[in-house]
Symmetry: C2
Amino acid sequence: MLVLSSPSGAGKTTLSRRLLESDPGVELSISVTTRKQRPGEVEGRDYYFVDAARFEAMAENGELLEWALVFGHRYGTPRAPVESALVHGRDVLFDIDWQGTQQLREKAGRDLVSIFVLPPSIPDLERRLRTRAQDADEVIHARMAKAADEMSHWAEYDYVVINTEVDHAFAQIRSILAAERLKRERQTGLSDFVRRLQAEL
Amino acid sequence: MLVLSSPSGAGKTTLSRRLLESDPGVELSISVTTRKQRPGEVEGRDYYFVDAARFEAMAENGELLEWALVFGHRYGTPRAPVESALVHGRDVLFDIDWQGTQQLREKAGRDLVSIFVLPPSIPDLERRLRTRAQDADEVIHARMAKAADEMSHWAEYDYVVINTEVDHAFAQIRSILAAERLKRERQTGLSDFVRRLQAEL
């Protein structure tokens, strides 16, 4: 379970997309949300769009691994697809904020690897937010204001990547994933492998 | 502090050398030993060669970070060069066995990252041992016998790399090093960096 969080505009979405394209062993957890579908967004690819009543029912029935309230909208992670992917030995990428990460960490413990992506500078952050043409000025200002609060949670993450240059930041995230897969406790079957080697000696 | 351990013949020495050549931020900890200098070995590059009395004195004076007895010879890690490198922000690579790793871990705690390198198979291990022309048959047999014991310590390491193909194993070790440097608690100055970003918002 790999969590990528960042203030909006730090480049997290681009990094997530590249990771998913480059590594067939990773799949994205698609969140449910009560916010309105934006132009270009596809149901089941970007989000599952639900109404408030449906969201409440999912939360009450234990169908969500975590949920959070952001800008008055609810966001949550459906439990079933995550559990299915993990059972099949696949890694799951979560594009969620610090509230969701805290809840996931309580449930997943050491199974969770969390990365916080920081922008190299504030002008860079603002430039990336303005490039998203569809957001109105007031939305950009709200996001900038929220960024200061989001950034204060960097110290709750395992790794911190500063996205000065996207190719470099992407290589760093790939290294983190590669290293985590080499951790002794994540390599199932090592006991048997070593026992077989020892038996041949 | 990065430890690379393995049974002899798993390719650890080649991997260490490549890491040192490719990464100027890493330096090798040179051990002291009471064993005889082999042809081709250089004092101060491969080992510091000392007699038993000098070794004992170093151990008693607290000049060694760890020491171990292997095949009747003593091996130890001088403390001063390691502390000097770490103070200057450099990483130190240790080519030591599981006995030394256990002692270093007690002293270094989370500062230590340990990697265990395994051979892909026993014929592969034997082939690599035989390629070292200078070892007599009985030495090879002793090393093979010892390999089974050494392998049983794989579970004391943070990471396990199976050296099926040296380029691939080397890339894996580089990923581990890159990821460890991205760990939040290893990145000094992040607090100040985030504070500066927040102040601009």
